[in-house]
Symmetry: C2
Subunit: 164 residues, 2 copies
DNA sequence: GAAGATTGATCACTCAATCTTA
DNA sequence: TAAGATTGAGTGATCAATCTTC
């Protein structure tokens, strides 16, 4: 319990609340963070029965020379935890889009390999997804603004990565 | 079935793929969309056992003169589907942060009401959350850049809303 | 012991169906 | 019939073990 005596000022400072302008801006940014992923998810789900993450897993594999990648590489590329990726790959495997093989070079590792069916599915899904990204983002802004948005995004990402 | 005759060129055009610069920018933006919400979720979960959405539900109620709102208003404010909100409010009610009452003016409606315990919990959670938003976003950019980011966000949001 | 990967339990979200009141 | 809200079923994500190989 605290003593009844007076004590020096509490070391916990008043938090630096957002100003009205800052709050205004943050609301817009937060709204974007909520809506843009949702809009892309819905498009992919409707047109290709794929989640956003599933699409990028298939796309990441398709970009590799042998259409395969280690699970942990793939997890880093799509920015997902290994556990989540493992569940996801299992479901893609059940649909015939991916298969798994033990990496002979390091038998702890698993290689995820894009099948022909998975590649065909990706090829079919890509145009409408790219169109949507264009519609919602790329064509909504000028090329200079796109560059600016990229720059600002990278600055914030740098903060997030520095805040571990 | 298609006839064996020759036909005019297929009306489906080649999709407008992203240029290298556009792809580069989109990757940075997509990374931000993935990481920033996650970073904020983790902070709130760790420090206040609240999801991002739960926090904003409590905050939205706290801003009302009577600390209450109709479910459908609240859903619109936090940009969530009514079904999701209903499940979420049930959980907050079980924790004692919110209670529900039928709206006497329109007995189809439910009013979600912030309890004293919910208010206290929000007040305790707010400083560290605001600090994190500051650290990651507001203080990472200049005031002009914040304005720019708000503007660009609103332009993309406009596209999303126009694309129904 | 650490790295790579998987598994199972739990919890939240989505979607469709349902119910009540306007 | 439509608006407001809730519910239950199914699916996906998270977190803490666990297992194997280095």
């Amino acid at each position: 319990m605290a003593t009844p005596q007076r004590r020096p000022p509490d070391p916990v400072p008043e938090p630096r609340w957002l100003t009205a302008d800052e709050l205004d801006a943050w609301r817009a940014i937060a709204k974007l963070l909520g809506r843009l992923p949702t809009a892309l998810e819905r498009q992919l789900q409707r047109d290709a029965q794929l989640s956003y993450l599933e699409y990028h897993v298939l796309a990441g594999l398709a970009d590799q020379p042998n259409r395969s990648m280690r699970m942990c590489q793939l997890a880093a590329m799509v920015d997902a935890e290994l556990s989540r990726l493992s569940h996801l790959i299992r479901r893609l495997e059940q649909r015939g889009f991916v298969r798994r093989e033990v990496d002979p070079a390091d038998r702890r590792s698993t290689q995820a390999i894009l099948t022909d069916a998975g590649h065909a599915h990706l090829i079919a899904a890509a145009p409408s997804h790219v169109d949507r990204v264009r519609d919602l983002v790329i064509d909504a802004l000028t090329p200079e603004e796109i560059l600016t948005l990229k720059d600002l995004s990278n600055r914030v990402i740098g903060r997030i990565e520095g805040a571990d």
